[in-house]
């Protein structure tokens, strides 16, 4: 892991993001419906429409519009929301932090629970534990978020037994405990699905490592079982686990859209669905780009962690 490597990776990310801006802009350009018509309503006169199009810059060539948009984005200006008459940066900024808390809670919970579970399943291969964990992970990966969310709601938010709120949001600055209570079910939904996926990966990596030559050598050397697991097996199966978690961030960013919609959590996902329903193009563009940036950066961070965990990569 040299500085040159890092710079090269950052360069690659910049190229990918440049392509993403073209893709995002292209998709929003071909979306049916015209921004001027959106603002003025169906009964706008043709003259007013032309005037509004000029005001919004829609009469200019596409590449000029694209250039203006990218130039603005590079300066932190994402334009005005067509529906909320607020700057997009403000709308998306608030939603971003709400989503970030949810995603981080899910990821943290998963990392603490899923990795030991997977390791346990690998250590006790063929036992009841292995079977239960395996079954859980197969069922978990086969349920879409909205099914898991709905089942959790029935279990924990029914009127007869309302342990958790069925949805909504409380600002952490107002009532931190209330914020946590509202976050548990949505974060739990995301967490359960991630957990199913990650524990299975950790199990397969760990069992591969456990049957490798150097673990046999460590055992033959007479090291105690626990030391073999903690010092030799686990660190070597962590790097692949981190790789899986970073890939799952992409999944998490998609899952958040549905989960926020179900639990009425005012994050990026809910804002995105609102924007899609109302054809609020600047908001759609900003959120899509933001999610792509987060995804790319999380992959980079994962690579750095993997290099730090695995000396072979570090010195390559």
């Amino acid at each position: 892991m040299t500085l040159a490597y890092l710079l090269r990776r950052l360069g690659a990310i910049v190229v990918v993001l440049a392509i993403v801006t073209v893709a995002v802009f292209g998709i929003t350009m071909v979306l049916p419906g015209n921004a001027a018509l959106m603002i003025l309503g169906e009964h706008a006169t043709p003259e007013n429409l032309v005037a509004m199009e000029r005001q919004l810059g829609l009469d200019r060539p596409v590449w000029v519009q694209y250039g203006t948009w990218v130039w603005g984005v590079l300066h932190g200006d994402f334009g005005m929301s067509l529906r909320l008459s607020l700057p997009v940066a403000q709308v998306v900024g608030e939603a971003f932090w709400n989503s970030a808390w949810l995603a981080l809670m899910a990821l943290a919970g998963v990392t603490v629970i899923a990795i030991p579970l997977g390791a346990l399943a690998a250590l006790k291969r063929g036992s009841v534990w292995d079977l239960v964990i395996g079954l859980f992970s197969y069922v978990g990966t086969a349920m879409p978020e909205f099914v898991t969310a709905t089942l959790l709601l029935i279990l924990f938010a029914s009127p007869e037994w309302p342990v958790m709120p069925a949805g909504g949001y409380v600002a952490p600055s107002e009532d931190f405990l209330g914020f946590l209570r509202h976050a548990i079910l949505p974060a739990g939904t995301l967490g359960l699905i991630l957990m199913a996926h990650i524990s299975r990966q950790v199990r397969s990596e760990m069992s591969e490592v456990l049957s490798s030559d150097y673990i046999r050598a460590a055992r033959l050397k007479g090291l105690r079982g626990r030391r073999v697991v903690w010092r030799h097996a686990l660190p070597n199966s962590l790097a692949p686990a981190v790789a899986v978690i970073s890939l799952d961030v992409g999944y998490l960013l998609g899952g958040i859209i549905v989960v926020e919609e179900i639990f009425a959590w005012p994050g990026l996902g809910r804002t995105l669905i609102y924007a899609l329903q109302n054809r609020d193009l600047p908001v759609i563009q900003a959120i899509t780009l933001l999610l792509a940036v987060v995804y790319a950066l999380s992959n980079l961070i994962a690579d750095i962690i993997i290099a730090w965990l695995d000396p072979r990569v570090r010195h390559a």
Binding site: V15, V16, L17, A18, I19, V20, V22, A23, V24, I27, V30, L31, P32, Y138, V139, T141, A142, M143, P144, E145, F146, V147, T150, L151, L153, I154, S158, P159, E160, S207, E208, S211, G250, Y251, L253, G254, G255, I257, V258, E261, L272, I273, L276, R279, I284, T288, L291, A292, Y295, A296
Partner: protein, 272 residues
């Protein structure tokens, strides 16, 4: 094949899949009631002798609705995957066979498309195409294409330098012959395995789109839509959301297990 059946995951997957395919083929004929028929006196009931899986908010029989929704769900999963895999594989094979600048341009574009989370990409395309089953299917196919292209490309690349391909080149076979007869058949395995697992994702995404109101439209018996419509009543009768929800999970799990076992059968190194 015997290895495949000895693998418990594969066996369970095969059983689940047989039930699902059976329901998809014969479901509409097996259904005891008309899926759209209202039974006003027996609304929101749990399972009973008359209604094996209970009834929804209009008293419609849940079992009949699930059985009627099965063909379209399976067709959606397989259809959108086949389309996405087909298009993606063609792009990937072109990139892998051509190499050089064509390859790197295609790969950079794919990187850009893959930088968006899958569901987000699907949502954007569905918004562009408009809601509906066909549109949702196309959207899932387009979303799958870049990832499949990447797998197809790496599969082609790994085959391209094998001895038998070099032997064919040395024999002086034409390029098209080598690609068609030597490279493609040998690169197909990983593509088929990935496609089987992807069917379960396609079914889940399709149901999610139905749930969000962007896929199938009422009064369709699409399972995701059924969950969405019954959500208001889920505390009065959990069955009306649990039944379609678990049906989705059941089907997705069948394809998942089957695909995993298929991968182990193709790659003996992994089946331990």
């Amino acid at each position: 094949m015997r290895d495949f059946l000895r693998n418990p995951a594969g066996l369970v997957g095969l059983c689940l899949l047989s039930i699902v395919i059976g329901a998809a083929l014969f479901g509409p004929w097996l259904a005891p009631y008309d899926p759209q028929q209202f039974h006003p006196k027996t609304r929101l009931q749990g399972p009973s002798w008359d209604f094996w899986l209970g009834t929804d908010q209009y008293g419609r029989d849940l079992l009949s609705r699930i059985l009627n929704g099965a063909p379209s769900t399976v067709f959606f999963g397989i259809g959108s995957t086949a389309l996405g895999v087909g298009v993606g594989s063609v792009i990937g094979v072109i990139a892998g066979v051509a190499g050089g600048r064509t390859d790197s341009v295609i790969m950079r574009v794919l990187d850009g498309l893959l930088a968006m989370p899958e569901l987000l990409f699907t949502l954007l395309i569905v918004t562009f195409l408009g809601g509906g089953t066909t549109q949702a299917m196309l959207a899932v196919a387009v979303t799958f294409a870049p990832g499949m292209a990447r797998i197809a490309r790496s599969s082609v690349l790994s085959v391209r330098t094998r001895e038998y391909v070099m032997a064919a080149t040395a024999r002086g076979e034409s390029r098209a012959w080598i690609v068609g007869r030597e490279v493609l058949p040998n690169a197909l395995g990983p593509i088929i395995v990935e496609a089987t697992i992807r069917v379960s994702f396609a079914i889940m995404i399709g149901a999610t789109l139905g749930f969000l109101g962007l896929g199938a439209q009422p009064p369709s018996t699409e399972w995701g839509l059924m969950v969405a419509e019954a959500r208001q009543f889920m505390f009065r009768n959990p069955w009306c959301v649990a039944v379609p929800g678990l049906a989705i999970a059941f089907t997705a799990m069948g394809f998942n297990l089957f695909g995993d076992a298929l991968r182990d059968a193709f790659d003996p190194k992994r089946s331990r």
